[in-house]
């Protein structure tokens, strides 16, 4: 089972049936796996705050949502995380590609990488960092934790976790 297949299997076994995505090269495999899974309604968003609105609606409509996005999105979504997801106490697993880490070829990505954990910490968002392939074993527990505590939760996944940037 690939890492992407394991992630999607955990989404399905935790009844996550509504997933919105904004693409990143590092996430291409998992987005394909989400799209291919018939138990999940995959709805691509044009911007991550829009996606969080869709997820808020899906949650209130009775389905478990999740968002897949790049860490640059943290810069886009601070207001939405605070005044929608957190203020109304809604669960939201955020599977995030952690660009700008080791093996990153694009220098500009490092600029947002250095702020990513600080921003998540400032927002009191529980944050997990997947660096080695085996770290995926915790994904199931993180999903259960997210729906237990009704919070947005970040899972940062760096290039090493994905087996390289795609080089």
């Amino acid at each position: 089972m690939t890492v992407s297949e394991k992630i999607v299997a955990d989404f399905v076994s935790n009844d996550v049936e509504f997933i919105t995505t904004v693409p990143c090269k590092q996430l291409a495999g998992v987005i394909d796996a989400v799209e291919a899974n018939s138990d999940i309604y995959h709805i691509p968003s044009n911007k991550e705050d829009e996606g969080m609105g869709l997820c808020a609606g899906a949650y209130m409509g009775g389905k478990r949502p999740a968002i897949i996005m790049q860490n640059t999105a943290i810069g886009v979504t601070v207001n939405t995380l605070v005044t929608l997801t957190q203020y109304y106490r809604m669960p939201l697993p955020m599977l995030i590609s952690y660009r700008g880490e080791l093996r990153e070829p694009v220098a500009c990505q490092a600029e947002m990488a250095v702020h990513t954990k600080a921003l998540l910490s400032q927002l009191n968002i529980p944050t997990y960092h997947f660096h080695k392939e085996d770290d995926v074993e915790e994904f199931d527990a993180i999903l259960k934790y997210t729906y237990m505590c009704n919070k947005p939760v970040a899972i940062l996944t760096d290039a090493s976790f994905w087996g390289g940037y795609g080089e």
Binding site: Y41, I43, K47, D49, L54, G57, M60
Partner: protein, 184 residues
């Protein structure tokens, strides 16, 4: 007619359906005119009424009406292609288009100038887009509900606000009673 006149007119229609209402004065006005547990009031996050409503509509069968404004749609323009490409026939987006940012002091929006949200929605691929005069909003909304086709309504009205109190309900209470209305 201004936005609050439209809301007063359509309140008897709205009360039978799930409603996601735009931040600021629209939510405050609807809350004052006809508070219902089936109303989800946005207390923050400008622009996401259409996205939240679409999310609710896609995962269950009850009719969902998102009340949005021209300024808020401009803020979250990416919503229109997402709506067009994820058709949910229990979903209606009602854009009350007064050509201004009402909650912040009636600054003009581009929708009141050269940009037609009706044309934009059509160009994004939305199939049932109806522009109506303020006084026709009720019958347009009712026929959209009856059609059971996803519909975007652009109701053109005058700019202007009434004095309304802010909503002091706790957000978790608003969310919880809305979710119970979904399940009810």
């Amino acid at each position: 007619m201004i936005r609050s006149d439209i809301l007063r007119d359509i309140a008897p229609i709205l009360r039978d359906h799930l409603v996601v209402c735009n931040i600021g004065l629209p939510s405050q006005e609807l809350h004052l005119i006809d508070d219902q547990p089936s109303n989800f009031y946005m207390l923050g996050t400008m622009g996401l009424s259409s996205s939240i409503g679409l999310g609710v509509a896609l995962v269950q069968d009850k009719t969902v009406i998102s009340i949005d404004g021209d300024g808020s749609v401009l803020t979250n323009f990416g919503t229109l292609p997402t709506i067009a490409n994820n058709v949910s026939n229990n979903y209606i987006l009602l854009i009350i288009d007064n050509g201004s940012y009402g909650s912040t002091g009636d600054q003009p929006t581009y929708a009141g100038m050269k940009t037609s949200l009706t044309d934009v929605a059509r160009a994004c691929g939305c199939e049932n887009v109806i522009e109506c005069k303020a006084e026709d909003t009720g019958k347009t909304l009712q026929s959209a509900i009856d059609s059971k086709k996803m519909t975007i309504i652009v109701a053109k009205c005058e700019s202007g606000n009434i004095k309304v109190p802010v909503i002091t309900k706790d957000p978790v209470v608003i969310r919880d009673r809305f979710m119970k209305a979904v399940q009810g």
